[in-house]
Symmetry: C2
Subunit: 433 residues, 2 copies
C-alpha cells in the first residue's frame, strides 16, 4: 500500500541529469525517505533535443521536447525546474502551479525577480513552491531561515554566495595571481562559465541576497534595487596590503535592517578579519551568516554550486513535499511581503580601505587629512608603501573609521583635484565583525 508520486523534470543539463540519475538509480533509497509510504516515480523530462549525447543515459521513453507533455499531464504532481534563466522557466513554473502541481526550482533569477508573484500563485493554488537549491547550492539555508530561526527578528545577513568569485579571490589571495589569471584557471576547472559576467560583476550574488533578504525581512526586494559592485578591479596588491592589515578580501552580499526598519542591501568586495569564519571560506565554497535578536550570529557553509550539492537540495525539497511538512510556513512569509524601505547607498555607513599613489613630497598627508576632516571622516591607519625614489612617488594605504558612502565619494573627488595625489588605485569597504 503506497501512493505513487509522479515527478516531471524540466531541463537535463548537469543538474537535471544528476537529479534524474538519483531518481532512477537510487529510487528505493529516496522513496524510503519519503513520507506517507510514497513511492517516487520519474515520469517525464523536458529536453531541448532528444538526440543529444549525455553522460548519464536516461531511457529515451522518459524524454520529450514538448513541455505540454509534462505541464498538462494530470498524473504528474511535482515539477522540478532546472532549466535556469528567466524564460521560459518562469512561464513553466507559473503554468505548473496553475495546473495544481508542486514546484521545486533551483532558479535564483526567477525567484529573485518573480518570487512574490509566483508565491502568490502557489498559495492560491494551495501548492508548494520550494527553492532551497536557489541559494547556497546544497547548504540548507532557506528552510532553516524560515523555520528554525522563526523566533528571531533577523537584523543582518552577510554572505559569500558566489562560488566562482570566491574561487578567484582565494587564488588571488593564496597564490598572488592577478584577476585575469585566476579567472582563466576558474574557467579551465569549470568554476566559471565562458561568459562569466553574472558571477564576476556580482549579479548572481545580488539575485541570491534579494531572495534571502525578502525571506528574512518579510519584504519584496527586487534585484535591480540592490547596489552591486563586482571583483574585476581588485589587484594582487590589494590582497598583499589587506593581509598586512590583518584582512582577507571577499565578495560579500550584505543585507541589514536598522532600528527604524530601513534596509541596506548591497554586493561588493570587502575586507574581512583574517581570523574570522568568513575569511576561512575558501575555493568555491559559500557561507551565509544570519544575525538574529535571540540567536546572535549563526553561519551555514559548504559547497555553493555543482550538480551533486544542488541535487541534494532539490531532492530534500522533494522529500519534504512527500512528507507533507509545509502547510503554512511560506504562506506566513508571503503574507508579510511588503515593499521595503531601502536606504540609498549614499547614506550607507562603512569603514574604507584606500590605496593612493602620491608624489613623495612633504604635505601630502596633511592635505589628505584636511579633506577627510572637512568631510567628517577620521583615519584609522596609514601605511606608506613602495616609495619609488626614481619616480618620486609613494603608495599610501589608508583605512578609515566609519563614514558614509557619500562623504567618501566627495573626499575622493576632492583628491582628484590635488596635484600631489597621482591616482586613486583602490577603494574597498571594510566589514568588521
Amino acid at each position: 500500500m503506497y501512493s505513487e508520486i509522479k515527478v516531471g523534470i524540466l531541463g537535463l543539463g548537469t543538474v537535471g541529469s544528476k537529479v534524474a540519475e538519483e531518481l532512477i538509480e537510487r529510487n528505493e533509497y529516496h522513496s524510503a525517505k519519503s513520507g506517507n509510504n510514497s513511492h517516487l516515480s520519474l515520469k517525464k523530462i523536458l529536453v531541448k533535443s532528444l538526440n543529444k549525447e549525455r553522460s548519464y543515459k536516461v531511457p529515451t521513453e522518459l524524454l520529450t521536447e514538448n513541455e505540454n507533455d509534462i505541464l498538462n499531464d494530470p498524473d504528474i504532481s511535482i515539477i522540478i525546474e532546472v532549466i535556469g534563466g528567466e524564460e521560459p522557466a518562469r512561464t513553466y513554473i507559473e503554468k505548473s502551479l496553475n495546473a495544481g502541481k508542486n514546484v521545486i526550482t533551483a532558479n535564483k533569477e526567477v525567484i529573485a525577480k518573480h518570487g512574490k508573484e509566483l508565491k502568490k500563485i502557489a498559495v492560491n493554488a494551495d501548492k508548494q513552491l520550494l527553492f532551497e537549491a536557489s541559494v547556497g547550492g546544497g547548504i540548507p539555508i532557506i528552510q532553516p531561515l524560515i523555520n528554525d530561526l522563526a523566533a528571531n527578528d533577523i537584523t543582518a545577513i552577510r554572505a559569500i554566495i558566489n562560488g566562482t568569485t570566491n574561487y578567484i579571490l582565494t587564488k588571488m589571495s593564496q597564490e598572488n595571481m592577478d584577476f585575469t589569471e585566476a579567472l582563466d584557471e576558474a574557467k579551465s576547472l569549470g568554476y566559471a562559465e565562458a561568459d562569466p559576467t553574472n558571477d564576476i560583476e556580482g549579479i548572481d550574488a545580488a539575485y541570491k541576497i534579494s531572495i534571502l533578504a525578502s525571506l528574512a525581512f518579510g519584504v519584496d526586494v527586487k534585484p535591480e534595487n540592490i547596489y552591486v559592485e563586482g571583483i574585476t578591479k581588485l589587484t594582487s596588491k590589494d590582497f598583499r596590503y589587506a593581509k598586512e592589515l590583518g584582512y582577507e578580501i571577499k565578495l560579500l552580499a550584505i543585507a541589514r535592517k536598522d532600528f527604524s526598519g530601513n534596509l541596506q542591501i548591497k554586493v561588493h568586495p570587502a575586507l574581512v578579519d583574517k581570523e574570522s569564519e568568513l575569511a576561512s571560506i575558501s575555493g568555491p565554497d559559500n557561507a551565509i551568516e544570519f544575525t538574529g535578536d535571540l540567536v546572535g550570529h549563526v553561519t551555514f557553509s559548504g559547497p555553493g554550486a555543482g550538480p551533486n550539492p544542488t541535487t541534494s537540495a532539490i531532492l530534500s525539497d522533494l522529500i519534504l513535499i512527500t512528507r507533507g511538512n509545509f502547510p503554512s510556513s511560506y504562506k506566513i512569509n508571503n503574507d508579510l511581503l511588503a515593499t521595503p524601505v531601502l536606504l540609498p547607498m549614499e547614506s550607507v555607513e562603512c569603514r574604507y580601505y584606500l590605496l593612493l599613489t602620491t608624489i613623495d613630497q612633504p604635505g601630502v598627508l596633511a592635505k589628505i587629512g584636511t579633506i577627510f576632516k572637512k568631510n567628517g571622516i577620521s583615519i584609522s591607519a596609514v601605511i606608506q608603501k613602495d616609495t619609488q625614489v626614481s619616480k618620486g612617488t609613494a603608495e599610501l594605504v589608508i583605512t578609515t573609521h566609519t563614514a558614509t558612502e557619500n562623504s567618501i565619494q566627495v573626499a575622493i573627488n576632492e583628491f582628484k583635484g590635488i596635484d600631489l595625489i597621482d591616482s586613486i588605485k583602490s577603494i574597498i569597504r571594510i566589514e568588521d565583525n
Copy 2:
C-alpha cells in the same frame, strides 16, 4: 478567529526565564509567526520554589510547585521542558507525551539516554517531541539534518559541540594560558559551571554526538558506548608545537560510517588544520560539520549555549508545532532506529601527534623508528625541541601517518621500557580534512 495554544514550562532557570519573558513580553510577535491563526498563551510554569528572587519577574499566578498542575491540565497542549538533568525531566516528558501533549526539550542528557524510547511514545501518542535546543544551542542542526539534508547518506559528523571547552582551548591557544587558568576564567565569566566535570571530560559532547549520530545514521547510539577523552591533560606546550606544525587543538566529537556500515563515534581533543573552518571557531561558539554523499561537507556554526540562543531554538520548535509542519519526519527516522555496529576504539584509525622527553643521546630516534616500524606505524614528521644541555634531555615532537589506536598503544607501551625515553608527555589525535 484564532485558536489559543496553551503552553506550560517546566523549569524557570536562565533558559526558562528567557522563554517565559519572550512568551509574555513579545507575545504578539511570536504569535504572529505561528501558523493556523494560532495565539500562544503561557499558562503555567513549574518552579522549585514560588518565593525565589528572579531577574525576570513572572506574574505569580503563572507559577506552581506542583508538576501535576501542568501535566494534568487538559488545556495545555505544548510542554517546554527546561529543567535539565536526567530525572525528574525524563519522567515529566514521558507523562506529558502520554497525556497527549507535544513536548519541546533542551535536554541533551534525556534525549541521548532515552531518546529512542521517548520517540516511540511520541509516535504512539501521535505527538511531537522536538529537541532542536539540545545540540548546538541556537544553531539550527536537528531539523536541517532530518529535513534539509534528507536526500543524503550521511557518512561523517565532526563537531565542536561544547562551548565551555572551546572557550578554554581558545584561551590556551591565543593567550598561552594553562588549563587551570583558562578554566578559572571560564568559570568567572559564566562559561563553565562550578563543577565543570561534564564539560571538560567530554561527557556533554558525548551526549550531543550520540543524538546527532542516532539521527544521521538511523541507529540508537547510547552515550556510554562512545569513546570519550576530555581536555584536562592538554598543556600550553601542546598548543605551541601544534601551531608550529600548522594546527589548532579543538575538542572534537566525531561520528563516521564506513562502507560496511560500521560506525566509529568518539570525543577527544584533536589537531585540526589551522586554516580550516573548524579552527576558526573561537570562544564559546560551536560548529557542526556533516558529510553527505550528495552534498559533500556542510557546516553549521554559532553560539552553542546561553539563554537567548537556546530560547531561539525552543521558540522556533514551538512555532513549527503550531504550523503543523511535522507529521512524519521523525517517525521516519525512528522507524529506522537499529542497534549500531560500533567499531572498537582499538581498530579506529587516525594520525597522531606525540610529545616525548628523551635522553639527548645518539640512537634515540633509531630506537623509536624501530618500534614504530614493528607496529606498522610510519612517521610523518619529527622535530627536536628544547634541548636541555644541563639535564641532558630533549623534547621530540612526532607526527605519524594513519595508524590504528591499537598499534599506537602497543608502541607507546614499548617506549616505556626504553631507558632513553624519559616520559611520554602527550598523545593527541590529528584530524585532517
